[in-house]
């Protein structure tokens, strides 16, 4: 009996010691970790607006604050959207998250509302199969969306359609990824959704 109590006490004490050590390290570094995450996101947004990204990571928050304003929509306070502080020119960067083939896919899309063109796409998080769906993070794939129009809906109700690789012939078609149909379909759904949502929000909103 005595031994049993000792064993339990020992386990509890050892657990407490190690847990407090880990929590201590976490508490020390949490500010730095949060800052890193913010900087990573700000870097993506700066890139999508075509602004110069400072070489030193420390200057990114200042550059971001100087050039970019967050747009808020009263109807959807959780929607994350940015525009240039000066001469916004109808260019918006909108955050998105959607179900990928495996894990959620998150990122930002740059939309030019004046000319109704996609200006850029960037992913901040995904868990697609490396070498297959994972190719969505290659610059070449993301560039496939540049300059794609969303002026009129296609007959199938989409703005853009991802087709088999190297078969895109119309302006509203984008090359998908061979061997990653699931990922291609997910991206198609996410992009179309994001554009539609944003148009609904913005055209009913105050930011022409």
């Amino acid at each position: 009996m005595n031994d049993k109590i000792k064993t339990v006490l020992f386990t509890v004490v050892v657990t407490a010691i190690f847990v407090s050590m880990v929590s201590g390290v976490n508490a020390l570094l949490i500010d730095r970790i949060t800052a890193n995450r913010t900087i990573a996101r700000q870097k993506v947004i700066l890139n999508l607006f075509g602004l110069t990204v400072p070489a030193s990571e420390q200057q990114i928050p200042a550059q971001f604050a100087a050039g970019i304003t967050r747009v808020s929509f009263p109807a959807r306070p959780d929607a994350e959207c940015y525009k240039l502080t000066q001469a916004s020119d109808g260019l918006f960067v909108v955050a998105f998250t959607g179900q990928g083939f495996w894990d959620n896919i998150s990122g930002f899309i740059a939309l030019d509302l004046k000319n109704r063109l996609v200006k850029g796409l960037e992913f901040t998080q995904h868990g697609e199969t490396p070498g297959l769906g994972g190719r969505i993070s290659e610059p070449e794939f993301k560039a496939r969306f540049n300059g794609k129009p969303f002026t009129t809906l296609r007959p199938d109700g989409r703005w853009l359609k991802l087709v088999a690789e190297k078969t895109a012939s119309k302006p509203d078609e984008v090359d998908g990824i061979t061997g990653a149909t699931g990922t291609s379909n997910a991206i198609e759904k996410i992009v179309n959704h994001t554009i539609s949502n944003f148009l609904t929000l913005n055209e009913g909103g105050t930011h022409p």
Binding site: D3, T7, F10, T11, V22, N26, L29, R32, G131, G179
Partner: protein
């Protein structure tokens, strides 16, 4: 010194990957990029060293019934420590490694060394044994990564080594090629070991 013999044994004769076939999961997962492999190996060496030291220091006070739980607790604490430090100082690498750093906790090599060696040996010997197992693991993973990354992505340590016209072997980046590469590695080293024994 006993620890030195343990260190040497872990490199070749009882190499955790090719001798004991442990740690295969991470060996397949991270070896498509040399940089990620290196960080993973350093993480494992650190975890092994610290866990073996701690377990060995505590070996006479840990009650037998709960020794495994305590070992996992110690290992987990060090691994979470690595994860936090990576998040804070190397966020890019931490992102790329994703869940694999956390999975060092379940790497059988660590538990194997703490339970199999550190529980019954002096701290200094255990530290050498742990580092040996980690280095032995790295000696297998790094060559595999050095083959997979150039063939699969045309790069080495992130630098372009093949001309852009190089057709990437997508196969080399995904897990199945890890199996092939690892199996070939084990086959060759075992054949060599068997040959050595026959002489």
């Amino acid at each position: 010194m006993k620890g030195f013999a343990a260190f040497k044994r872990m490199l070749w004769d009882e190499n955790p990957v090719i001798g004991q076939i442990l740690g295969i999961c991470s060996a397949l997962a991270v070896t498509n990029l040399v940089k990620n492999t290196l960080v993973m190996c350093l993480g494992l060496i650190f975890t092994l060293m610290m866990s073996c030291l701690t377990v060995s220091l505590m070996r006479n006070v840990i009650p037998r019934q709960v020794r495994m739980i305590i070992q996992v607790l110690i290992i987990a604490a060090y691994v979470i420590f690595i994860k936090i430090v990576l998040d804070a100082f190397m966020p890019d690498i931490s992102n790329e490694l994703g869940p694999y750093v956390g999975l060092i906790i379940t790497n059988c090599i660590v538990m194997g060394r703490t339970e199999g060696y550190a529980m019954g040996n002096k701290p200094l010997d255990s530290v050498f044994d742990g580092i040996g197992a980690g280095v032995g693991y790295s000696l297998v993973l790094l060559p595999i990564a050095m083959i997979r990354e150039p063939l699969g992505l045309g790069t080495f340590f992130g630098m372009q080594v093949f001309p852009p016209e190089w057709t990437k072997w997508n196969m080399m980046v995904i897990a199945p090629s890890g199996f092939f590469a690892l199996a070939t590695f084990i086959w060759v080293t075992r054949a060599y070991k068997a040959g050595g024994a026959a002489k």
